[in-house]
């Protein structure tokens, strides 16, 4: 049932609703629709985490198995997908997504999918720093995102992950740079980090 993270090539397990044809039609009944949106939100987040996706382009994603069930020959229409994601970006959807570059129409509907929100990522990074004793050392952003130190972050086994999630440690290795900046900005605001340096050579110091 639960997604298998190692090896990453392991198949994503779709929820039961994924094989229910009406799931691919946005329901007019408000209550049914709410349940449907919640289920879609959950599915998209789980899918993105499994595939390690931070930015999702709806236009291209429509042809992936996320929105298309080949065995049913059903898929969510672009319009419906936009509505699902739009719901995710709003408060009632838990702000689990955010439009990139202004709005639904632009850029073929590219969104951040926050299977963790920047604040949550900040917590993860902070506790990782704590765990690994990196306080008061200066690290470059490149090191953090692509360096060997954080490799395990993305490749840990499920058992480990369950163990570590107690400490809030999750995979930020290979995170999108822009999102990582936002995550650091949260830490800076909290007074737990300081970012310095110029464009390509940025460093960060954790307190």
């Amino acid at each position: 049932m639960a997604p298998q993270h190692s090896p990453p090539a392991s198949a994503f397990t779709y929820p039961q609703s994924y094989s229910f044809p009406p799931f691919f039609t946005l329901q007019p009944n408000l209550q049914t629709r709410l349940s449907q949106l919640r289920k879609w939100s959950r599915l998209i987040q789980r899918y993105c985490r499994h595939e390690h996706i931070f930015k999702l382009s709806l236009v291209t994603a429509l042809d992936t198995t996320l929105f298309k069930n080949a065995s049913l020959r059903k898929r969510l229409s672009l319009n419906d997908a936009l509505q699902v994601v739009d719901w995710m970006t709003r408060d009632e959807g838990g702000r689990r997504a955010e439009w990139i570059d202004g709005g639904v129409e632009a850029n073929g509907g590219t969104v951040w999918v926050f299977w963790k929100r920047p604040e949550e990522w900040a917590d993860v990074v902070a506790s990782w720093v704590e765990e690994t004793g990196q306080r008061n050392t200066v690290l470059t952003l490149y090191e953090l995102m692509n360096g060997e130190m954080t490799v395990g972050q993305g490749m840990i086994s499920r058992e480990q992950r369950l163990d570590m999630s107690a400490h809030g440690m999750l995979d930020f290795h290979g995170m999108d740079a822009e999102l990582f900046h936002r995550c650091l900005a949260v830490l800076v605001k909290r007074g737990k980090a300081q970012v310095f340096g110029s464009e390509d050579q940025q460093g960060v110091k954790f307190f």
Binding site: M1, A2, P3, P15, Q16, S17, S19, F20, P21, P22, F23, F24, T25, Q27, P28, N29, Q31, T32, S35, Q36, R38, K39, S41, R42, L43, Q45, R46, R49, S71, L72, K74, D91, E92, G93, G94, R95, R96, W115, S165, R190, G191
Partner: protein, 655 residues
């Protein structure tokens, strides 16, 4: 049993007997027994039919509704209302058995006295006829039917003249010589006499003889009526009156003149004679037998259908009493209840020539005796006579409208027999006649209803009941044919067609009437779908029932449908249905089916799947939140911004 329990239709209207027709309806009517209101019967509808006067309560129609059979009504009175007292119509029951015995003995006594007085001549004339008085109808208390000769009432002097025995309504025409009135000598019009003779024939074999009963045996004993007997008659009448025993006459309290008992005012001084004894004598001792005063008050326990009320009053609180009275008068004169056992067609010439008449049931009746003509000549003659006879009936029926009303039964019988004869192949025509006859029964027309201020709403509510009856009629099965639900427009068309093109209803009134169903608690209801479509269905058929019906159909599909359609959790989710499938399954129209499915979807019981093949509806597995829950930390719940101050405090480790 003066007051009788009343059977109601599903729409809470009186169930009509065969041949019974609705004459008038009025709302806001209360019931009195004698002077006292009857508890629980104070607000209802009064239905006047050709046979009965009915009261249907508004609040508890099934419990407290009663009917008064008009044949048990001796007489009726009209009270126009005064200040706060509403107009009332009083119905007096027929005298009970002992009173009628008394009245009969009274009349026999006077007869013998009369006979003793003038054995040879008095029998030519009517003894005490003075125009139309309540005495006339009460004289028929003796229930034995007697053969009678017809009488016609002179329009000039209102004297009841006998119709000459030679006058045969079947063969007579306007050229037939008619005798003049015995008293005033004015010749009557032909239709007038014809009407009288037909009316007499219609009422002849009923339990109640025609109103001029006392005249008839006398006339018969005398035989032929002679034209020059008017002087003799007057003489006889004088002798008659002076011969009346003093006791049976009434002395005027003012001038002491001895008046005839049937007079209401003193002949000499005009003083009213309506007081005690005179009134009693007036109705032939009925009131002597029954003491005047009822109990001091009427408590609810004492009132029942079984005990005989002194009289019953209908109190008209919202008007309509005049028309009610008028129609009641008409009904009492027409006495349609007698028609139930009436002879098929009056056969006036049965005595001399044997002819074949068409019976009410369309069967050919054999004459009592036949002229012995055999062979083709006999057959031809028979046919000729039959044609003559039918021609006469039709001719007399169309003579004028009243006569038509009186001979309605014969005419309908003829029409039916013609329809049967005309062609077995033309079933359509036959059907048409039957249907139009049926349609006549079910029409609620505006003229049947009171003309008070609320008449519009009364009309609508009657129409509403009418419709409900029509819909719930099991014989027609209108709703059942349509799967228990049909659109209002369809119903309108069907209903108007059933009325046979008479008294059509406008769509606006129709809708208004339909909207009243709920208010009147009738067994059908009007429903509006969200696209505005108005449909009619049984009141007990709720949305929940429909949903249950749909769900059970979908449940069946879990197991029943073909196993080839794999690819999704077929055994879990079942299969979707289209509106067409549902319509086919339940006998609905497709429009109705899709509306019902959408209704179920709106209630959350179903969900939809839009596909290339069209719209399908499924059981709603989407709302079931449990099926997809995993143990991961994915959050989909609404996001609430944390108060920044609190957040800062938290960050600083204070909170």
């Amino acid at each position: 049993m003066f007051l009788q329990p009343l059977d109601l239709t599903t729409a809470l209207r009186p169930t009509l007997l065969p041949d019974e027709a609705l004459l008038f309806v009025q709302d806001a009517v209360g019931l009195y027994e004698g002077k006292y209101k009857i508890p629980g019967l104070q607000n209802g509808h009064a239905y006047l039919t050709t046979h009965r006067a009915c009261y249907v309560d508004n609040l508890e129609p099934r419990k407290s509704s009663i009917a008064v059979e008009l044949k048990n009504v001796d007489r009726y009175e009209f009270y126009a209302g005064f200040l706060k007292s509403s107009a009332k119509i009083t119905l007096h029951p027929k005298a009970p058995k002992r009173a009628s015995i008394q009245s009969r003995s009274h009349s026999t006594i006077s007869n013998t006295q009369r006979a003793a007085q003038s054995p040879s001549r008095s029998s030519t004339a009517s003894p005490v006829q003075r125009g139309a008085s309540p005495l006339l109808s009460s004289g028929s208390g003796s229930g034995t039917p007697r053969p009678s000769t017809a009488t016609w009432v002179c329009t000039i002097c209102s004297f009841s003249n006998p119709v000459p025995a030679t006058f045969d309504p079947a063969t007579a025409n306007s050229n037939t010589p008619l005798p003049a009135c015995v008293t005033c000598g004015v010749k009557p019009s032909f239709p007038h006499v014809l009407k009288a003779s037909i009316a007499n024939a219609a009422g002849r074999q009923g339990s109640q003889p025609q109103s001029h009963a006392p005249v008839q045996p006398l006339l018969e004993s005398h035989g032929q009526y002679s034209e020059n007997s008017s002087i003799e008659y007057i003489e006889a009448q004088w002798r008659e009156e002076s011969a009346l025993p003093v006791k049976s006459r009434f002395q005027c309290p003012r001038c002491t003149f001895l008046n005839h008992p049937s007079l209401l005012a003193c002949e000499l001084c005009g003083a009213p004679l309506l007081s005690t004894e005179s009134k009693a004598a007036d109705v032939l001792g009925e009131n002597i037998a029954r003491p005047e005063s009822p109990g001091p008050s009427l408590d609810s326990s004492s009132f029942g259908v079984d005990n005989e009320p002194e009289c019953v009053k209908f109190s008209f609180r919202a008007g309509g009493e005049k028309i009610f009275h008028e129609r009641l008068k008409g009904a009492m004169v027409q006495r349609k209840w007698l028609l139930q056992n009436a002879p098929p067609v009056p056969d006036f010439s049965a005595g001399n020539v044997g002819i074949t008449a068409i019976g009410i049931d369309g069967q050919v009746r054999q004459p009592l005796e036949r002229a012995r003509t055999v062979g083709i000549a006999g057959l031809e003659r028979q046919g000729l006579e039959l044609r003559k006879k039918n021609e006469a009936v039709i001719g007399s029926a169309f003579e004028d409208l009243d006569a038509l009303m009186l001979s309605a039964k014969e005419v309908v019988a003829l029409a039916e027999s013609f329809a049967k004869k005309s062609d077995e192949g033309s079933a359509d025509a036959n059907q048409l006649i039957v249907e139009s006859a049926k349609a006549l029964d079910m029409v609620t027309t505006k003229e049947m209803l009171g003309s008070s201020s609320g008449s519009e709403s009364l009309y609508l509510s009657e129409m509403s009941r009418n419709l409900a009856e029509y819909l719930t009629d099991d014989a027609k099965g209108i709703l059942r044919k349509e799967g228990g639900i049909m659109s209002l427009v369809d119903l309108w068309a069907v209903f108007n067609r059933a009325r046979g093109g008479v008294e059509l209803i406008s769509p606006m009134e129709f809708e208004k009437a339909a909207r009243l169903w709920e208010k009147l608690k009738l067994p059908v209801r009007l429903r509006q779908f969200k696209n505005g479509l108005l449909v009619v269905q049984q009141a007990d058929r709720t949305d929940d029932k429909t949903i249950a019906q749909l769900l059970s159909l979908l449940q069946d599909l879990h197991t029943s449908s073909s196993s080839s359609e794999v690819g999704w959790g077929h055994e879990i989710f079942g299969r979707g249905i289209t509106a067409q499938e549902a319509a086919q399954r339940f006998g609905w129209s497709v429009g109705v089916a899709s509306e019902e499915l959408e209704m179920a979807e709106e209630k959350g019981a179903l969900c939809r799947e839009e596909g290339i093949e069209g719209l399908r509806f499924w059981e709603n597995w989407i709302v079931d939140d449990q099926s997809d829950d995993f143990d991961d930390d994915i959050k989909v719940d609404p996001f609430y911004e944390v108060d920044p101050v609190l957040k800062n405090l938290e960050d600083m480790g204070i909170f």
